[in-house]
């Protein structure tokens, strides 16, 4: 599919994509994000695409994921900045070092959860998530049924879902008291 073709599919389905972005939590920014999507498409560089509309949804979804991850990181930076400005005896001399430590903790937590998957579930998860292999092929590789693959994947995500479950409280209990309601919005 050419860039022009993709852009045409985008224009035809723009309303549905904006609706999707809104449902995904983009709110008033949905139109702007759709515009970003258009700009990315116009830049070209896409490989062969079997289902252009699904591809557009996936790109929109990825934009939302990036946005959310950036917002969390920014909140972290902002928090450390506020800490410096506020001063006081409870303040670390090196807030950025503290941040790094926290992010190491999160990494360690992620590593721990990945280890907790167990060898078979971990191998299946990798094939699925990193190598992009289909359920059917993974099933064939492991000599088990497709539904068994799906069970392994569900198990993997249940284990990983514990990551960061109590992050907000662990990072800064004070912050929850001050503006807990805003935290969920980002």
């Amino acid at each position: 599919m050419t860039v022009d073709g993709l852009l045409a599919v985008f224009m035809t389905n723009r309303a549905a994509l904006v609706r999707f972005l809104r449902a995904r939590g983009a709110g008033d920014d949905a139109d702007d994000i759709a515009q970003d999507l258009w700009v990315k498409l116009a830049a070209g560089g896409q490989g062969p695409i079997a289902d252009p509309l699904a591809y557009l949804y996936r790109m929109a979804n990825n934009l939302m994921i990036d946005r959310h991850r950036m917002a969390s990181r920014r909140r972290d930076r902002e928090q450390s900045w506020i800490t410096i400005e506020r001063g006081g005896d409870d303040v670390s001399d090196e807030p950025s070092a503290e941040r790094r430590l926290l992010s190491r903790e999160r990494l360690a937590e992620i590593d721990g959860r990945i280890d907790a998957l167990g060898p078979r579930t971990s191998a299946i998860f990798r094939r699925f998530r990193l190598d992009g292999v289909s359920h059917g092929q993974i099933a064939a590789e492991h000599g088990i049924s497709v539904s068994a693959i799906e069970k392994h994947l569900r198990k993997a995500y249940r284990i990983l879902s514990a990551i960061g479950a109590d992050d907000a409280a662990a990072e800064d209990p004070e912050r929850l008291d001050r503006g807990g309601a805003n935290d969920a919005a980002g």
């Binding site: 549905a16 790109m59 999160r106 990798r126 569900r154 249940r158």
Partner: protein
């Protein structure tokens, strides 16, 4: 485990190979309950973080080049800040409305601020990590107090002297494009619906994620807004940011652009008659010296007639009456 989370896991798995019909069903699911979107968001973030981490374990740590050249379908497993950054700074450009009376405007987000200059005014800024920025007149630059390695040139022209940091390259946003430093002194001009980047030393990457054009010393890139591709030409090193020495060089530019440029640097208000606004000019104009002498000088250089109307100088065709 709450039902919303169980269902979100199902969607994460199903969406990997989703058809457009699946995405439509997913939209309906998100809309069905306010708890659905946050549950999915949380899991999608974990999914991306975990995939990044596994990817790092599996392969060598990805370099910036790897990220740039990865096929777009693998985007979710990568960390891609650019679209967010562009949106975010763009929002500020629209949000800069509250003037404090001083030359610095404070935006609604306290960590971000705009630095404007009036026509004829220049201004120098030093950021941490060794970045120095000099603004030409009639320019607006947006900065982030929290991130000294990032700026947006909303309009006008500025000279950037950047100390390179491999781990954290300086990034400039301009006219929807990104310019990433590779250790450099470069000038960026954003006027008349076009972006121009001129490099005096070192190198920059223009739009590292799409065009990925590397500009070295003496290269000038001009990128008009719209679908036309950027063009590259050579510029004499002395002409890069010539405005700093009141020396403006033009390469096949319309008189309207030339006048806007002179006005920005000198503060002399010039307007070009539509009859000659599109006429092209190539050459160097030295605008140092008396402001009053400038219109006469332009008459000779541009083959126009300069007529004063109140505070403004009109540039008319040379043969025009009176």
């Amino acid at each position: 485990m709450p039902r919303a989370e169980e269902e979100a896991i199902g969607w994460i798995i199903r969406l990997r190979d989703a058809t457009s019909a699946d995405w439509e069903s997913f939209t309906l699911w998100l809309e069905a309950d306010v708890r659905h979107a946050p549950a999915y968001e949380r899991l999608a973030t974990i999914d991306a973080d975990a995939a990044d981490r596994m990817f790092q374990h599996t392969a060598a740590a990805p370099t910036r080049i790897d990220v740039r050249e990865a096929p777009p379908v693998q985007e979710s497993a990568r960390y891609r800040p650019q679209s967010y950054r562009r949106r975010w700074l763009g929002g500020i450009a629209a949000g800069v409305a509250v003037a404090t009376g001083a030359t610095m405007l404070i935006t609604s987000t306290p960590a971000t601020y705009a630095v404007p200059t009036a026509p004829g005014q220049t201004r120098s800024i030093v950021l941490s990590e060794g970045t120095r920025i000099v603004l030409d007149g009639d320019t607006k630059l947006l900065l982030d107090r929290r991130d000294p390695r990032m700026a947006e040139l909303a309009s006008g022209e500025a000279l950037f002297t950047v100390t390179h940091n491999v781990r954290h390259p300086f990034e400039l946003r301009v006219g929807g494009a990104r310019v990433e430093d590779l250790g450099t002194v470069f000038d960026v001009r954003r006027r008349a619906a076009a972006t121009e980047v001129s490099v005096a030393s070192g190198a920059v990457l223009y739009n590292p994620d799409s065009d990925a054009l590397r500009l070295g010393a003496g290269d000038r890139l001009r990128d008009p807004d719209g679908p036309a591709p950027p063009t590259r030409s050579h510029v004499a090193l002395a002409d890069v940011a010539g405005w700093r020495d009141a020396r403006l060089s033009f390469d096949d530019r319309s008189l309207a652009e030339v006048a806007a440029e002179i006005r920005a640097t000198t503060g002399v208000p010039l307007q070009v008659s539509p009859a000659i606004a599109e006429r092209r000019f190539t050459g160097v104009i030295v605008v140092a010296g008396s402001r009053d002498a400038l219109p006469r000088k332009l008459e000779a250089l541009l083959d126009v007639k300069a007529v004063r109307r109140g505070a403004v100088w009109l540039l008319l065709p040379a043969g025009a009456g009176r």
